[in-house]
Symmetry: C2
Subunit: 644 residues, 2 copies
């Protein structure tokens, strides 16, 4: 087992201006808010009914199931964020509330271990009859993830026992044996959860079952097609009935898949499990499949913000380089899934480029998914939004120009909360020979004897002061692609260093030594490969890991009519009112095509006026009311020399 290990959350302290804001907000505001939503006590928010569904399934309340078939998963993800919160800060009242929710889950558990409020309440005879859309295994996965987290946070076994009992029920139901179903989930998630359960319990059956689900998927004949032929089968989502096998990545066996296709969240959850299995089993073929799929996403199908999924129909990947900025799906959950996949690829490959992508998704799409107030959320994350067009053109009906209090299908809000509260698991990684720093964030960490303290204003500030102790080991400091390290000092002495797989490697007997790193945080123009036709001739702007955007609030309307000079130079400035004080805005001179031509089509070219442009970090957009926003801006092209 060569892969890097996460540090337990309890060993990681985050004491950071940038992340402190999010962690406090989730802890103090989002977790309580989401509990209120799950209990249907927030006016004007989409109805959840999640807790009531459990109460009905547990026989404590009369009524009908309401919501998506996977409504249970909202409670599980909420519990996972609670677990991470408790692991890093005790809160007896919250723990008591969580314990009561866990008891409710236990009460909804059937004698054989099965738990799913939709099937228990609405279709008691329909268990496992619709793996394609029934989401029982998906919900089970989220329950297991939450239970493992709660066990690690509190040491209490109750939730873990419930989930072990359900996992055993699943293991008794699915597998290669003659008397078991040869199925696998329509929405992957159980696989990576079973892997966590295997790690938490040491029980190899769960590893085997995860492997079974991955290897069985997409084999011929296709189980998800066959189940439709069985007596009593009915469509849960008739509008999805015609979706192809690629939608659920079941078109060919998992190991033969070379292209990221279909529903983006399903895809990256599956690839995460494949990466877990590849390193645990030492399976080179599986690892190669992961490498190929990762490259296909990151070099052909990922937005500059780390968003994935170009199309709302099927929430899916489309063709290579098809990256529409306005029609995009870019689900918040999909970028969270991409982070999960990247963390695992980083762990097995020890290569910083996976952490670069993780950072891209985190600092841009994932935290764009939540408002500064903590109670509004994006499901879809466009790179270009024009409210008047969105409201008049039904093609954009999935795109909201303002964050929403909740959703009918509300997977994202709880996913953001568990990701923010679990951030500590993404910052460091550990191996026998060293400690890896993957994200720069003020705080400290312990890894056995090793300890490290970080002080930085990253992603705004360009400096990190790191103090390391604990004897001889290698410190692997990620050299961020978007903010390359300019210099490293140790104890005030300039230090030369090697870079291995994107990490600055410092090998030393660490005794409270102080490292000072300088990052190049100068704003950079970023260009998308010309194969992506709709971004040709445009530039995006990044500063460190942050992608920037223009908003109507700062630049007036008709954001599409700006033009940047070739090689535009941006100056840093304080943020506009209403944004966090630590944020940095960027200003540049620009041109703008004025409006007001009387004719739609004209033989004379529109004239450009001089203009100025102010950009803010993309993740902060839509915090000052509904308005236009754009990431990519057309730029004056740089012509070949010969053309003068």
């Amino acid at each position: 087992m060569n892969r890097l290990k996460q540090l337990p959350l309890k060993n990681v302290i985050i004491d950071d201006v940038f992340w402190g804001r999010y962690i406090s907000m989730v802890r103090e505001k989002v977790i309580p808010y989401q509990w209120e939503v799950l209990n249907d006590r927030v006016p004007d928010a989409a109805r959840s009914h999640c807790i009531k569904n459990f109460e009905i399934a547990a026989g404590k309340r009369k009524g009908q199931f309401y919501g998506m078939v996977f409504q249970d998963s909202d409670l599980y993800k909420w519990l996972e964020s609670v677990a991470y919160s408790l692991e890093t800060m005790s809160n007896p009242a919250l723990e008591k509330l969580a314990d009561s929710a866990i008891e409710l889950i236990g009460a909804a558990q059937q004698p054989d271990g099965y738990i799913n409020t939709y099937y228990t309440v609405s279709e008691p005879g329909g268990r496992w009859s619709n793996l394609q859309h029934g989401h029982e295994l998906y919900c089970a996965g989220h329950m297991i993830e939450a239970a493992v987290a709660y066990f690690e946070a509190t040491g209490k076994r109750r939730f873990l026992d419930i989930s072990v009992c359900f996992a055993d029920c699943i293991d008794n139901t699915f597998g290669p044996e003659d008397d078991k179903l040869k199925g696998y989930p329509g929405h992957q998630e159980i696989e990576l959860a079973l892997f966590k359960l295997y790690e938490a319990t040491g029980e190899k059956r769960y590893l085997n079952l995860a492997e079974y689900f991955i290897r069985e998927r997409g084999t011929s004949p296709n189980y998800l097609d066959l189940e439709r032929e069985k007596p009593g089968y009915h469509d849960i989502f008739p509008e999805l009935a015609t979706f192809d096998r690629k939608y659920s990545q079941s078109h060919i066996p998992s190991l033969e898949q070379k292209h990221a296709v279909g529903h983006a969240v399903r895809a990256v959850y599956m690839y995460s499990a494949m990466a877990d299995l590849a390193s645990e089993l030492g399976d080179a073929e599986l690892q190669n499949a992961c490498d190929v799929l990762y490259d296909d996403i990151v070099q052909k199908k990922m937005y500059i913000t780390g968003a994935i999924g170009s199309c709302s129909v099927g929430e899916r990947f489309t063709a290579a380089y098809d990256l529409p900025n306005d029609l995009i799906y870019g689900e918040t959950c999909a970028s969270i899934g991409l982070m999960m996949f990247c963390r695992r690829m980083n762990a097995s490959n020890r290569d910083a480029r996976f952490a670069d992508t993780m950072e891209r998704a985190l600092y841009n799409t994932v935290i764009a998914g939540i408002s500064l107030s903590g109670t509004e959320f994006f499901y879809v994350n466009p790179l270009e939004a024009e409210p008047s067009k969105i409201s008049a053109n039904p093609n954009y009906k999935h795109v909201k120009p303002a964050r929403q209090k909740w959703f009918d299908c509300s997977c994202c809000p709880t996913n953001i909360a568990r990701t923010v509260m679990g951030l500590g698991g993404y910052i460091y990684a550990s191996s026998p020979d060293g400690l890896y720093v993957n994200l720069y964030c003020s705080g400290s960490a312990r890894d056995g004897e090793r300890s490290i303290t970080v002080k930085t204003r990253y992603p705004y500030g360009g400096e990190a002061a790191i103090t390391a102790s604990g004897g001889r080991y290698k410190l692997f400091l990620r050299n961020p692609e978007c903010a390359p390290v300019k210099s490293v000092e140790i104890n005030g002495q300039k230090q030369s260093y090697n870079i291995e797989n994107g990490y600055i490697v410092l090998d030393r007997d660490w005794r409270s030594d102080e490292i000072r790193m300088l990052f190049d945080m100068s704003p950079r123009l970023v260009y998308c490969a010309p194969e992506s036709g709709n971004n040709i001739g445009k530039t995006a702007v990044m500063r460190g890991p942050l992608v920037y955007c223009i908003e109507q609030a700062d630049n007036g309307e008709r954001l599409g009519s700006f033009l940047l000079p070739g090689g535009a130079v941006f100056a840093e400035s304080p943020p506009p009112a209403g944004l966090p004080a630590e944020a940095i805005a960027l200003k540049s001179s620009a041109y703008k095509y004025p409006s007001g031509r009387t004719k739609l089509y004209s033989f004379s070219p529109p004239e450009l006026e001089s203009a100025a442009i102010e950009m803010i970090p993309y993740f902060l957009w839509a915090n000052r009311g509904e308005n236009e926003m754009r990431v990519y801006i057309p730029a004056v092209p740089i012509l070949p020399e010969s053309s003068g």
Copy 2:
């Protein structure tokens, strides 16, 4: 009545290289082909069942209705094109076939005059119960249009009598009287047809009924909403049930409508009837509504190709300036409807700008709708097509990169046929004081004593030789916006002239005088107003009325990566192989962003290479196999003087 009159088709002879190709093709190939399709005798074409539906409704065959509820209209539009064909060239065999089809229609007529095979066969008790989607009045309109055309072509009354009988049935059913339904069609068409019937028969009831339908539409309470509440109502198209009132232009009364909204074909068919009524009734308020709606379309919602309808969901208009080139609907029928509206607006306003728009729609979108072979058709007319993206991204599933043999919903093929065969009605217009030339096309026309002969290679050639006779009258020669007249000679003498409302006015006692006009046919760069964000920084190219495009066949793949120099200069050249010999291609130097970057996102700007570009007329695209196509090409911007 001040409006211009159409010349009867029998008075217009077309003897033209450009249009001769289309007219011969429709006459010799398309009309017979479409008859075969309507009889389900074309392998691999979508099933029509249209004739069988009539046979079943007439009791001559057993079976079920098949197809769209408006399937009958395909036969009616086919008969209309046959009528125009017979009016300009006799064909006894075809006339006999048409007569037999008319007898079949008559046999399907119910005792009270009602004809509709869907309701007669499938829902005999459901007549008029679903005006929103039932299409009975829509089909009736197409029947009446065909019947009037057949009467004018052949002098035979049979079809006209059938349609009069149905019109009387409708008049007995709808109207302001207490015992009648206060409804109006979900899909407008009957209104303009009743106006034609009024003109053909002199019966004012039909005028009144057309006016009733227009004035009742959109009044409160909304009839189309109310009918949904009636017992027995059921949705014919459940997927359209949630569409808003704007979809059918019934959101507010017709006369109060200031914005072109909803289903584009419905809209322009309605506006055509409004224009008819406005001039016939001398109703300034109605005329003003038409003017406002026309401007809203042409200055805010029309593509450079004369396509309209930006969105496939609801086949509808969206926001002003929302003109996506790839997602576009741009239905062929909608541009035909725009031509119809323009012809009427030209007739009532005597302004050439309406004919400019008519010409734009005709030469670009309408004839793009049919292949050079005559047996394949476009329903949707994109300005940008990338087959790999279309096949992988479900947002584009309405866009076909190749013309189709037929469609499940096949309104467009027969609409193209009747438009091409009825072209003579668009070329000239007549008033007591003069003769108007709206389109330049070789041939001749008689208008009472007046006669005119035209020789031209327009839209490719830049010259027209016109001989006029018949005494004193004004000749109004359209000065095309896209090909301005450079000079006029009469009998070899340079002639000065006035331009009134876009017409060169020549007032003379015409005695075989020969006019020679020169048009400026130089290729022009055309710029869309900057309000249309997605076309900013791009240019289109026109030569005369023809919009040009680049195709992969001539320029290789990745058409999105070309860049034109600012103020590009195009040279004319013979067309590529496979296109008509008379066509003119355009060539320019250009730049291209080469492919092959290893990273999707890069800090270095992509370098441009010198390249060449070859453009062909847009209407000829997709005649050489499936490939990429683009109309708009990014161009190097012209910066303000001060920025050097």
